[in-house]
Symmetry: C2
Subunit: 338 residues, 2 copies
């Protein structure tokens, strides 16, 4: 095989507001690689197949990426050559991998969240970065650990058409709850309803307070948004409500919010839980992989993907996720051989 391009996305500098393509990162297709001959030095060559773009990419720009090196992201690839006895050619490897087409990896310890994917259930491979990957695990572990759902509880889920929110909607419905979902466009709202939400609204055109005043009070709040949305939801919390704090996309790129209703924590004796999937996963991982791929294979768990082909779309995808311009889980299809 002749040398081919090894396109990649390099880190430049942390953003102050929204992460800008070409400013905070840069796309570079100047590097060449010959997959047949590149020196492995005892390691293995991973061909990137799928990358996952999520809100955390901006967070990693603040403290996780190194200037001049490829950014990393969850994704998976296929081992095409190996000198490392721990992996075989053909293995599918999931984890936090470099955003480039080919990576020479010394050892599996170089990849955080390293996991072999087997896909016995024959679900679409891309789901392993979405509902069968970290976003699904986040929803599953956070819900199981913190929601304490009772039949008929009122659940409010933000970013209801995203991979975490969509999964939470469905877990809440499995547990007999009434689900209110919000999203940022009428199209996304329609998807929330397809996922099973009893009530869904476009927060850009509909008053959250009016909806929650009518449909609440809220027993369980799944927060992917933070800021003013969290503050307003506090005002509509039921006694003993559980607030599951999964993300705060409204505060990543904007000025910090004035919080008027924090006293509701005391008044309504709310429990508020920050979700860290890496802390919770050891407790739930086995059950997750028993449940979720099966539910997906059986069509019992629905999902929505926003697939973009080519690593050159990564930077725009990172920005789109921060702006909410994606419709469903953003998947970058880098190569097609799985």
């Amino acid at each position: 095989m002749a040398p081919v391009k090894n396109s990649r996305v390099l880190f430049v500098q942390p953003p102050t507001g929204y992460p800008q393509p070409g400013v905070n990162t840069t796309f570079d297709d100047s590097q060449m690689i010959d997959p047949d001959t590149v020196s492995l030095n005892g390691g293995f060559l991973l061909k990137t197949l799928v990358l996952s773009i999520e809100p955390y990419n901006r967070g990693l720009m603040m403290f996780g990426y190194q200037k001049g090196l490829p950014i990393t992201s969850f994704g998976f690839g296929r081992v095409i050559r190996t000198e490392n006895p721990d992996v075989k050619a053909g293995d599918h490897i999931y984890g936090m991998i470099p955003v480039q087409e080919y990576s020479v990896v010394a050892d599996k310890s170089e990849i955080s969240w390293f996991m072999f994917l087997e896909n016995k259930e024959k679900i679409p491979w891309s789901l392993y970065v979405g509902v069968a990957g970290v976003p699904g695990q986040t929803a599953y572990c956070g819900w199981k650990e913190f929601a304490s759902p009772k039949k008929g509880d009122v659940v409010f889920v933000t970013t209801g058409s995203g991979p975490v929110g969509a999964t939470v909607i469905q877990l809440a419905k499995q547990d007999g709850c009434k689900v209110i979902a919000s999203a940022g466009s009428d199209e996304k709202v329609a998807h929330c309803i397809k996922f099973g939400a009893d009530v869904a609204f476009n927060y850009k055109t509909t008053s959250l307070s009016e909806v929650l005043a009518k449909e609440g009070p809220v027993d369980i709040y799944w927060d992917n948004v933070g800021g003013e949305t969290l503050d307003n939801t506090l005002l509509h919390a039921g006694k003993g409500a559980r607030f599951i704090e999964c993300g705060m996309i409204s505060v990543y790129n904007n000025a910090p919010p004035v919080m008027k209703n924090m006293l509701q924590l005391v008044t309504c004796h709310i429990k508020m839980y920050g979700v860290n999937v890496s802390v919770l996963l050891p407790k739930y991982e086995q059950q997750f992989y028993e449940d979720v791929p099966k539910w997906l294979a059986e069509g019992k768990l629905k999902y929505l993907e926003d697939t973009r082909s080519g690593i050159e779309h990564v930077e725009q995808a990172i920005l789109d996720v921060q702006l909410g311009k994606n419709i469903g889980k953003v998947v970058i299809s880098v190569a097609d051989d799985c």
Copy 2:
């Protein structure tokens, strides 16, 4: 007995800032009562002995008190006459009682938190509105339910010389924690040290962030303050920290705070719990009354009282508590016959 004055504090209107004597409440000593002859209509006559002034009094001005009627507060009195078979003359009755010298009570259902006090341990009676009453219960129940203390955990307690904070300091020390306490004067700080705090500081003259950066990170935060103090403490939270939200005195009288560090909830997977003692008490009440009066009788639990004699000092005491001008638990000694 000739008629005597029945002095009382009447509610006027909710405060917008600090509660002002004569503006939001008014002291009235125009009412006369003859304890020997006043008609009981099947009820009983309670002579108020002790009243407790606490931060919640301002909260009740916002939604709990009725204009033109006496405000209520935790306290206890002695039954001096009765036509009600449920109570005997001489009984000491604790609960949320009217702030007046004498009250004709139809039935015990009229007094929320109604309880007979027996004081078998012969502790000072006034402690039954403090460390052996609701403030002590709040500390005890909140700590037992939410703190999950491990030996060596770093605990940060605000308002460390108040009745809740002082009790939390001592419970945390019982559990082998390192305790940092804050208070609003050097005199109060000295009391925090007497209660057992390992580190104590005057938040008006010492930087909270510097103390917590040096002594933290914080595993357990007992919050009586809210606002900027809560926000700054979020920045010094350890992974998996527990934030026990008991009160937010900094926000009752002031503009709502900008919260810069809410994302720490997610980043540090913090658990934040609003404390409502009435919800928790059924689970812990028996143990509380087995432990606390005994500890007090044995000198194992320390306390600090700020005693003021006469119901005419109630209004100023309410304001002082909001301003932090009290030193320890504010007790209004109304009459002396117990």
